[in-house]
């Protein structure tokens, strides 16, 4: 007489779930590799408009990001509701754009400096005023390659 009963014959054996962790880990690694962690923590609203005449940015060339938009709901008390510029992790004024570009250039190898592209991530509901000022600053500091970063879609239903 043993403690353990013998298995009955004919019953369905339970499905082995031993490989489930492996499958999930595989998915996990896929997502870890395929996604890019956000470069900057956004303080402003940033939903991009749509366009269809777009070109992909070459990831091998240096890209600097400038964000423009209204402060997020959490920050309205601190920063108000006007359109603001975000460089790296802080809201900055227009005058600091030149310093930002200079700092970005200083971090690059010399031969890459002329290939620096400025990606302008501007909220779809932002007004043109701030962007115009930023463009003037970029011209002054001779950062002429720009890209209005957009989603892919039909521009007519923006």
């Amino acid at each position: 007489m043993s403690k353990f009963k013998k298995k009955k014959d004919g019953g369905l054996p339970p499905i082995s779930t031993a490989s489930l962790p492996d499958i999930v880990f595989m998915l996990l690694f896929f997502f870890m590799v395929a996604t890019v962690i956000k470069e900057d923590n956004l303080i402003i609203q940033n939903s991009l408009p749509k366009a269809n005449q777009i070109e992909k940015l070459d990831k091998k060339k240096p890209i600097s990001y400038i964000y423009i938009g209204k402060p997020s709901p959490n920050y309205i008390d601190t920063y108000g509701t006007e359109d603001r510029i975000q460089l790296n992790d802080k809201l900055q004024s227009v005058e600091q754009v030149q310093a930002f570009i200079a700092a970005e250039r200083a971090a690059l190898a010399e031969e890459l400096v002329p290939t620096l592209t400025v990606s302008l991530k501007v909220d779809r509901d932002a007004k043109m005023g701030v962007l115009t000022d930023v463009k003037q600053e970029l011209r002054k500091t001779n950062a002429l390659k720009i890209n209005y970063t957009t989603k892919k879609g039909d521009a007519l239903d923006n």
Partner: protein, 211 residues
């Protein structure tokens, strides 16, 4: 005493842990959007330059106001155009080919209206915006203008290089794709540059109006 074998570690919760991590990564990461409308800003110059004189009929002037309306001034007339007609209007203007003598446009397929642009090289599109124009309208207009240029470039590319079986936009994509062989890229670059020279993007942006 009988030797007991080490008990097997229960791996049942491993899946839960992995799922938790997976969900964490799904939530915290976003797939980066790194594509958009590439433009080049004009260099900063002291405003002492002698203004370049361009014939009025060669200018397709767009003005965006604070209410996001588009005013088109071309060939002496001004009218409001809806966004969805802008591309067709721009193509019609660029492709007009109303030039005579040394300004004659051999490639143009347009109406040849004397009051509109001379040829592809002379036609200039200018865009001015108000400080209170919405960015989404501005992008939509930029997109439509680039689309108009791309339409004509596609046509010319197909006409000049019919055996490639692609258009200008596809060729540009292929050229920018890093997996394309260097030989093919060199070859494509030459052709793309040739088309760009035939259909130049003469698209100027005036500084925004102060109000």
């Amino acid at each position: 005493m009988a030797k007991r074998s080490a008990p097997e570690v229960n791996a049942g919760s491993m899946a839960d842990i992995a799922f938790l991590l997976l969900i964490f990564f799904l939530v915290t990461t976003d797939i980066a959007t790194d594509s958009g409308l590439s433009r080049k800003l004009p260099p900063w110059e002291p405003p002492t330059d002698v203004p370049v004189i361009i014939k009025e009929k060669n200018i397709f002037a767009l003005t965006l106001n604070s209410k996001n309306e588009i005013l088109l001034t071309s060939g002496g007339d001004s009218e409001l155009v809806p966004l969805n007609e802008l591309r067709a209007q721009a193509v019609k203007f660029l492709d007009n080919g109303g030039g005579e003598g040394k300004d004659v446009c051999k490639r143009c397929k347009g109406e040849g209206d004397k009051a509109s642009s001379d040829n592809l090289d002379k036609a200039v599109i200018s865009l001015a915006n108000d400080r209170l124009t919405d960015y989404k309208t501005y992008i939509a207009v930029q997109n439509e203008i680039l689309a108009a240029y791309n339409d004509i470039r596609n046509r010319e590319f197909k006409k000049d290089y019919p055996n490639l079986e692609m258009d200008f936009v596809q060729a540009t994509e292929m050229y920018q794709d890093p997996s394309t062989e260097p030989k093919v890229r060199e070859n494509l670059k030459e052709k793309l540059e040739a088309i760009k020279a035939i259909v130049p993007q003469k698209f100027s942006e005036a500084e925004a109006k102060r109000d």
